[in-house]
Subunit: 345 residues, 2 copies
């Protein structure tokens, strides 16, 4: 095996930004997209790292995402701020509205950001980490493609519907969780199929709704939510709050609109930001100090906090650089030289 | 077995209200508490029905809940409204602030209600159903007693931390879920212990953190959350948002304060209310019509919605009356005559 190539965070960021700019994406958006992709790679979330570049370029090539959309903010001075991504990537839209959202949450105690009509491909932890840096707690959620059956059902109707939560910690990375409400990612079933291996029980049902460990039957049937009927209820809530409530696509409509799963989904997203200092003010307690009691007690009994592995990978990457394989480096070269074409050829 | 005694909803409500009034609870609070207890019985949620009266009377007798506390609303006209239960029951506090919360949510898009220093014994679905009747989506959560270990841990630190969500449906009961984030209720482990039966795997760990099916070892150890590390993350979020963030007790402090589990816990609660019409306005879509597409599609594939059994029991109870056993009727008679004393004697 070849030695991995080590590249600094900054150098990788510049390269990925260049790739998107050469694909026609406006510089501000290229930068926002590059930041979340390189953050994924830095945190060793390979499925949200540079692996995502190809998928993004494919949607650009298909004309299903607007490369030059400028996010448009709509703010009536109330608790709900909207940003219309206008068919562009979600990340530039989020970053365009983030400061306003944080400011509003501090003014009023809590505020919501509605992201409209965006191509959403990144993990949600970016949003909640950015708000935790502002001292805010936050919840972020969005639909996806309808691959998942509700508990007791058999037809795919719900998305893998991720949900993320962030809570600020002084002098430390925030408390962050971010997970799909499906029991597994669709990509994991696909990997089992390619490897000719059965999937674990509880991941999926076949077309008739029977439990299956056959990856082909699972892909032809429906995935299941984590945690049985409780996870199914949470997934349904994500569809309602970040799809129906916003007047944006739910997961089934997103799939119908894109006409298949080859391209990343378009829909909306919802971010709630809460200011702990406002909520706690009358109690006389410091909510962040109180939160630390819980979080340090979790660590003290040897339990891991969510995202700990990710933060550890981040520390390493920022100190020592990001290790990429020769194939990954070659792909970056190709994308930089001429976009998606040579890959599809 | 004796014929069950059938009593109308209204008659049972009057009896339970009388019991609380005779126990010294101010009439408005007695009514609010009676309403949630009788609603539980009506919906065949026996664990939140008249079974709860004894527990409430016990806390009253112990002087750990204030019978005559008048909820005190604090409203700065922003997005966070507070109601101080002043050591009284949670339900009168919620109902004292509900209309204001709904009004604020419609004005600004979303609003939060902080309930401070309350004795919380009821299911959360009352709150989210009441807000769904106002056309609002809502989330309600609170800590409880620390019986549950975080994923990968072994010491009880988290509460059973319920979370409830409501979504309005036109001409139908709302979409409502309400569940503990623990895999099972503590009472269920106790029932297995009394019956000398092992508990299912995955419910609990012993003192050393090893999985156990022995109910004694489980009660001596820690319960587990539903859905593995994902459920544990959600339970942690509930502690942070409805405990630390409010400056109110988290589950461990609630247990320490009450000095044991014989009495119901005191802590705060958080309710978020969201106005779908505000959120969807710019989309030109009706969010409730969109939500119906999802909810009817879930039903159409033969999957049950959460709370369906409860609503069915409600229909039956309102049409035919509520069936109580002779022992339950006798207990109501005793409580009505002289409060808790004859039960303890």
């Amino acid at each position: 095996m070849a030695e991995p190539h080590v590249i600094s965070y900054e150098a990788l960021l510049a390269r990925v930004q260049t790739i998107f700019e050469r694909a026609g994406v406006r510089p501000e958006s290229a930068q926002a997209v590059a930041r979340v992709i390189v953050a994924g790679e830095r945190d060793n979330c390979k499925s949200h790292g540079i692996y995502r570049i190809e998928g993004c370029l494919r949607v650009l090539a298909a004309g299903k995402v607007s490369p030059d959309a400028e996010p448009e903010i709509h703010d009536a001075g109330k608790s709900v701020i909207e940003v219309d991504a206008r068919g562009g990537f979600s990340n530039p839209a989020f970053y365009a509205a983030k400061d306003l959202l944080a400011e509003r949450a501090r003014e009023t105690g809590l505020a919501a950001l509605v992201i409209r009509d965006c191509l959403h491909f990144s993990a949600l932890w970016h949003d909640v980490e950015a708000l935790a840096e502002e001292g805010l707690a936050s919840l972020s959620m969005c639909p996806s493609y309808s691959f998942v059956a509700p508990a007791g059902g058999k037809e795919p109707l719900l998305g893998t519907n991720p949900i993320a939560f962030g809570w600020p910690r002084p002098g430390a990375h925030p408390y962050v969780f971010d997970f799909a409400t499906s029991v597994a990612a669709r990509g994991e079933i696909e990997l089992h199929r390619r490897a000719g291996k059965p999937i674990p029980e509880g991941w999926a049902v076949d077309r008739e709704g029977n439990p299956t460990t056959d990856p082909d039957a699972a892909l032809d049937g429906a995935m299941l939510t984590f945690g049985g009927h409780k996870g199914s209820a949470i997934s349904t809530m994500v569809e309602l709050l970040s799809g129906a409530m916003l007047g944006e696509f739910m997961s089934k409509e997103a799939l119908d609109f894109m006409g298949g799963t080859d391209l990343l989904p378009r829909h909306g997203a919802l971010v709630l930001a809460l200011d702990p200092q406002s909520f706690a003010a009358r109690s006389g307690r410091d909510p962040i100090v109180e939160g630390e009691k819980l979080l340090t007690a979790i660590g003290a009994q040897g339990a891991r906090l969510p995202s700990e592995r990710r933060f550890e990978a981040r520390r390493k990457a920022m100190a020592e650089g990001i290790a990429l394989s020769a194939a990954e480096m070659a792909q970056l070269d190709r994308f930089e030289a001429s976009g998606l074409a040579p890959v599809d050829a």
